[in-house]
């Protein structure tokens, strides 16, 4: 290896590393600040603080008006868990029909499905709110969770269709010869083979539902029904400067589940994005 070449590589690594530091600095600052005494968060900006404390976490976890973060986390996990189950089941069934079965006007239905992906959610939000209000579902997680069981997220259908299309049709044909009908083929062949698509759907439904502030703000109003996301926002109202420590501590905790998912399933996430072009 010649030395100018090596020098170039070093510069390249240096540029990329500087980028990494700029990208991560705000997150690191938040994590470290969450361990600092509240009064020194804004005055002491060093990443190596003089004294560390857990008091922000203890105080923050208590939440407000008697509801603790234990409740908020439970609410979030129930909501996200149901959303994941709903999305995985309904999108997988729909994708199988579009990718492998023949039915009337398939092209038109497919075009409709693609079109629903392009409609901004704000166009649907007012009538949906009215429907959910009529059903007396306001202040429950039902408006957020139930639609997921009806494959409203065309994006995940599309992702799964693309995945099923990449599986050899010979498998289906062999199974048909063995006497399997479409239902048996779905359960015995397609479902086990689409695990990567199911994992991708699970991960992104988890992260997007966890972070989806707009729907939670719209539909959940009682503090005891609040999710982690809403509880954080309530903190910003109540506290001001004095509660900054707790606010940071709970903010850090709120992104921990997303981080964990990311670290365990990184490969699926990056591949999922690269092949399907996710937001």
């Amino acid at each position: 290896m010649t030395s100018p070449f090596r020098f170039k590589k070093m510069i390249l690594h240096a540029v990329i590393l500087v980028g990494v530091i700029i990208m991560l600095y705000p997150i690191l600052w938040m994590i470290i600040s969450s361990f600092k005494p509240t009064q020194s968060i804004l005055s002491d900006n060093s990443l190596w603080p003089k004294d560390l404390t857990l008091s922000n976490y203890i105080k923050g976890w208590k939440g407000t008006s008697g509801t603790t973060f234990a409740t908020f986390y439970l609410n979030s996990f129930i909501m996200v868990g149901l959303a994941v189950i709903g999305n995985v089941l309904s999108c997988s069934l729909t994708a199988y029909a579009f990718a492998r079965l023949e039915f009337k006007h398939k092209k038109i239905w497919f075009a409709l499905m693609m079109m629903t992906m392009m409609i901004p959610m704000h166009v649907l939000i007012v009538p949906q709110y009215i429907i959910f209000n009529k059903l007396e579902w306001i202040n429950t997680i039902l408006p957020i969770v139930v639609p997921k069981f009806f494959a409203v997220d065309g994006f995940f259908i599309f992702l799964t269709i693309q995945f099923i299309r990449s599986l050899p049709r010979g498998l289906d044909e062999a199974a048909t010869i063995d006497g399997c009908g479409p239902i048996a083929i779905y359960f015995r062949i397609i479902l086990p083979l689409t695990v990567p698509a199911i994992v991708t759907t699970t991960i992104f439904t988890f992260i997007w539902t966890w972070n989806d502030f707009f729907s939670q703000l719209l539909y959940l109003s009682g503090v005891e029904k609040y999710t982690v996301t809403l509880a954080l926002r309530m903190f910003t109202d109540a506290g001001g400067e004095a509660a900054l420590g707790s606010l940071f501590a709970m903010s850090v905790l709120s992104i921990v589940p997303v981080f964990l998912i990311f670290f365990f399933f990184q490969r699926y996430i990056v591949e999922g994005i690269a092949t399907s072009g996710m937001k």
Partner: protein
């Protein structure tokens, strides 16, 4: 005897068994709301009394008598037109750097992607409020360089920039898509052009950019659509007001205030339909011009 399990009938029913959940969802949660919001946009529905037909009044009010509407439109279009090109440039630049077969690619790629995962969360919006506050780290760092700045999020001229930077910070997801695209470009193109004596810059202009153009188009459209609908950061950073002085009054925030703050649901529906048309206009425009700059492999 009627054969319930008549082979032919059964096989024509099965696809609809698989499609049933989606079909119900399509009608109940998409189709019906879609049409009724169009209807509501021509009414003065206030959630309490039943909707009254007012014709084009909502749309006329929006365009002739509501300065707030124009402010919201201005803020949002500025945000989209500044943040999206910046974000995509960073994404492309880093993708080119990371595509050089360096060691630790997986780790770098993961780190750059992290902000895209959590960037839309309330936690990060709260963080941003502090980072760009009066004594936030950004101002402290600028202070070391001798630049004295007021609170970004508290000053009308700068508040939008803190939101633009938040968007640009999330360039990781278009970057990953660019990286996948760069891998598809045949190495022979570069080898052949090297033999012809083309330098790096010429290769970038004549090979990389044209080969990547369908992906630039895709990334651009996706980012424009999602930026027009941005809500959370503006809501959190301005405490739901769109302030200071409406400088962060995003379109969706103003729509939310109208529909669910003042319960003017007819007006909010009209705003939603205008948003649909505005997004369609911008994406249509890009598709039209794309014929001039997007090259697909099969055209040679």
């Amino acid at each position: 005897m009627l054969n319930l399990f008549d082979q032919k009938r059964w096989s024509s029913i099965i696809p609809y068994l698989f499609l049933a959940p989606w079909l119900i969802g399509l009608v109940v949660f998409s189709g019906f709301p879609f049409l009724s919001s169009l209807y509501l946009s021509f009414t003065n529905y206030n959630f309490v009394s039943s909707p009254n037909w007012v014709g084009l009044k909502n749309y006329l009010t929006m365009f002739t008598q509501d300065p707030q509407y124009f402010q919201a439109l201005k803020v949002t279009v500025t945000y989209v037109l500044v943040a999206v090109p910046l974000e995509l440039s960073f994404a492309l630049f880093l993708a080119l750097l990371l595509n050089k077969g360096i060691r630790g690619l997986g780790m770098y790629r993961a780190v750059y992607y992290i902000p895209s995962l959590i960037g839309g969360s309330v936690a990060i919006a709260i963080l941003w409020q502090q980072v760009f506050g009066d004594n936030g780290i950004v101002n402290q760092l600028l202070g070391y360089a001798g630049i004295d700045m007021p609170s970004w999020v508290g000053t009308p001229d700068y508040a939008i920039w803190s939101l633009i930077l938040l968007k640009v910070w999330q360039f990781g997801s278009p970057m990953v898509i660019f990286l996948a695209g760069l891998k598809q470009i045949p190495q022979e193109f570069y080898e052949a052009s090297s033999l012809d004596g083309a330098g790096k810059w010429k290769q970038f202009i004549h090979i990389t950019l044209p080969c990547l153009s369908p992906i630039i188009l895709f990334n651009g459209i996706m980012q424009i659509i999602s930026s027009f609908q941005a809500f959370t950061p503006a809501y959190i950073i301005s405490n739901g007001t769109g302030g200071p002085v409406n400088s962060t009054l995003f379109y969706t925030l103003y729509l939310y205030q109208n529909g669910f703050g003042n319960f003017q649901m007819g007006y909010a529906s009209a705003m939603a339909w205008s948003l649909l048309l505005i997004i369609a206009f911008f994406t249509g425009l890009i598709f039209l011009t794309s014929k001039k700059w997007v090259h697909y492999g099969d055209q040679g």
